[in-house]
């Protein structure tokens, strides 16, 4: 199948027409940064010296986080699952704090306590990074609840995967969102697989997964994730609905991951036809397509693009160096960040026994 991109139509959307060349180039820069960051992370994970646990790569899906998050204002919040590196960099987190987290260092965004699945930056309206499938869906609803409660005109972009739609708590969240008119947008990143299980083997549906929203009287839409213009245009419509009408939306963005479910995915090339993967890389790669688009628009040329990529790569290498040189937590650090009151040594934190090893 050829790329579905129909130039024009979404490029002309108001929200895209107001994109300056700088902004367009910045979107490309972000995608290069995400890809280079993860390639560096993968390389050092495989070196096997510092990292452990899971490493879920976002490579192939960069346009989704980049396009959607590019629309966020000061009262718009973001929360996602464990495949969270792309969203983290998109909201403005530094490669240093992210790489250091993967290395389990104190300089990590979560002080080395969360790891790959648990990047957080509340100061940038980024609430993680959650390992339990769909566990973040009611949390995103809560962020929307808080915004409405405080009278702030904003919304929550809550990302989940195509496999996550079969966790009950997501459906409870949809009903609450519709019933209480909460400004939450559920963004289903449909990469076609939940681990080794294809969409067809995990979900029964009509039209698409987002259409389940119909049962809750919630607006929904489907998006071709390889086109940043489409991602931005349709996501912006949902954000306006959230901002102006305080109504939820469910968006399903079709995308693809190039690597296995996680680095530990032994079967990455078994449950997916290698040709399928190659086809995506060749015809549907969001970076190449966006670069091509910007070249056609005369916004950028080969060398400039190559320079952006080189910068991103250099930034990633520097982040690795930063991570390697950063200190590990001390044994005593295991007991901090468990209780707020204890960390602050408030009267409550100094009263009674909180830890029970002895």
């Amino acid at each position: 199948m050829e790329t579905l991109l129909e130039a024009g139509v979404f490029a002309d959307a108001a929200i895209n027409r107001e994109l300056t060349p700088e902004k367009k180039i910045n979107l490309l820069r972000q995608m290069f940064r995400i890809r280079r960051f993860e390639q560096a992370a993968l390389k050092h994970y495989q070196a096997g010296t510092h990292m452990g646990g899971f490493l879920h790569l976002y490579i192939g899906q960069e346009s989704v986080a980049t396009g959607t998050v590019s629309l966020c204002g000061e009262n718009d919040h973001v929360i996602t699952a464990y495949r969270d590196h792309g969203h983290a960099l998109a909201v403005g987190m530094s490669m240093n704090e992210c790489m250091a987290e993967l290395f389990g260092k104190t300089t990590g965004c979560s002080k080395g306590k969360g790891g790959s699945m648990h990047f957080f930056a509340p100061d940038k309206n980024y609430w993680g990074g959650h390992g339990i499938v769909a566990g973040q869906t009611p949390l995103g609803l809560g962020l929307a609840f808080a915004l409405k409660y405080k009278g702030r005109k904003g919304c929550c972009l809550c990302f989940l995967g195509d496999g996550a739609v079969n966790q009950g708590v997501y459906h409870e969240s949809l009903n609450l969102a519709a019933l209480w008119n909460l400004p939450v947008i559920y963004v289903i990143e449909n990469n076609g697989y939940s681990m080794g299980t294809s969409l067809e083997r995990s979900s029964a549906f009509k039209n698409c997964l987002a259409a389940r929203a119909e049962g809750y009287n919630i607006e929904w839409d489907q998006i071709n994730g390889e086109d940043i213009y489409e991602v931005r245009a349709k996501t912006w419509k949902a954000m306006q609905r959230a901002h102006d009408e305080s109504r939820p939306t469910v968006l399903e963005i079709d995308t693809y991951r190039y690597y296995g479910h996680s680095v530990a995915d032994a079967n990455a090339k078994k449950y997916r036809d290698p040709e399928e993967i190659e086809k995506y890389k060749k015809f549907h790669d969001p970076l190449q397509l966006w670069q091509k688009r910007l070249t056609e628009e005369g916004v950028i040329n080969e060398e400039q693009a190559a320079a952006l990529d080189a910068e991103a790569k250099a930034e990633a290498d520097a982040a690795v160096k930063f991570a390697e040189e950063s200190p590990l937590p001390e044994k005593a650090d295991i007991f901090s960040d468990v209780y707020y009151e204890v960390d602050r040594q408030t009267p409550a934190g100094r009263t009674g026994k909180h830890f029970f090893n002895d």
């Binding site: 648990h118 509340p122 409870e172 960040d337 209780y339 707020y340 009263t351």
Partner: protein, 324 residues
């Protein structure tokens, strides 16, 4: 001092905190228009309105998870579970999101959420509605659990729980809602992590939480009147944080301890405390630390039988006599 019910004490605590802090919001099934399945929130919706007192559909995982998320942005939700037993459909949200998000974010986040409701057997509502999850929840570092036994404690602990900046689970008791105790008009707080000696004694320490404290007091009466045994009754009040000092002081004085616990015995709070006492007061003990728990089967329906299933003063007395 005025006598008020355990229910009214909780209601007053909620009303006072709703008034004090506009970020406090009550959420739960039937808490607003219905005034609460057990009337703990009576009158609060009328007084504070739709924004502050919210009726929820039967989606515990959904609205508890939502409350955890809202708490990350500074809202202070007080969520009612009609029964704590229903926490089991929201268990992941409670343990993994409320309990772990602070740690996994390296302390960037805290969750000032309170989850409250009754957790007790004894009302013939059957096995699925009679769970006492204080032990299984307190197993998780990151959460706090309190089990008030009187109206006075219920009010003071509830107010502290709402002001606490960590997740606090308040376990009440439907058999106590209608009971009355003296409660002062003036505002007061009871800190989490402070046990209360409800009765002084010299010969044996009865250590309990929640309604088992009242069972222990009855047993102490009988021991005094019929057996000339002076029992001290220690009310834990707070399970986590735990006041180990008060427990140990009592045992060092009496040299004997019997724990009374309405949970099933295996890995109950009383097991944790028995283990702690023998470890830290080994040489002070003149006898093994014994436990009186619910009879080890799911909660039975048959009313006369369920009465026997919970700890009774008689069973406590018997245990004490076995180590006199």
């Amino acid at each position: 001092m005025p006598q008020i019910t355990y229910r009214k004490a909780l209601n007053d605590a909620l009303a006072e905190e709703l008034t004090r802090d506009e970020n406090v919001v009550l959420i739960g099934e039937e808490v607003a228009q219905y005034n609460g399945a057990y009337k703990v929130t009576e009158g609060l919706w009328k007084r504070f309105g739709d924004k502050r007192v919210v009726d929820a559909p039967i989606s515990e995982a959904g609205f508890i998870g939502m409350s955890v998320g809202a708490s990350m942005l500074g809202i202070r939700p007080v969520v009612e579970l009609m029964f704590w037993s229903f926490a089991y459909v929201a268990y992941d949200q409670i343990v993994n999101n409320a309990g772990c998000v602070r740690y996994m974010s390296g302390g960037l986040i805290n969750c000032p959420i309170v989850i409250r409701g009754p957790a007790n057997g004894g009302t013939n509502v059957g096995a699925t509605h009679s769970h006492t999850p204080e032990s299984i929840l307190a197993n998780n570092p990151g959460v706090k659990v309190v089990c008030p036994a009187t109206a006075y404690d219920a009010k003071g602990l509830m107010k502290s729980a709402i002001r606490d900046n960590d997740p606090v689970f308040v376990m009440e008791n439907t058999l106590l809602y209608g009971e009355t105790w003296e409660v002062p008009d003036e505002e007061y707080l009871i800190p989490l992590g402070v046990a209360d000696v409800k009765r002084e004694g010299a010969d044996v320490s009865l250590i309990a939480h929640g309604r088992a404290v009242l069972t222990s007091l009855k047993a102490a009466e009988i021991l005094a009147n019929e057996h000339g045994i002076s029992a001290e009754v220690v009310d834990l009040r707070s399970i986590r944080p735990l006041d180990e000092e008060t427990i140990l002081q009592s045992v060092r004085k009496t040299h004997r301890a019997v724990l009374v616990d309405e949970n099933k015995p295996f890995c109950a709070v009383s097991a944790q405390i028995a283990s702690m006492i023998q470890e830290k007061a080994f040489d002070d003990l003149d006898a093994p630390v014994l436990r009186v728990c619910s009879l080890d089967a799911p909660a039975i329906y048959s009313p006369p039988l369920e009465k026997m299933q919970l700890p009774t003063p008689e069973r406590v007395v018997e245990k004490v006599l076995s180590i006199r």
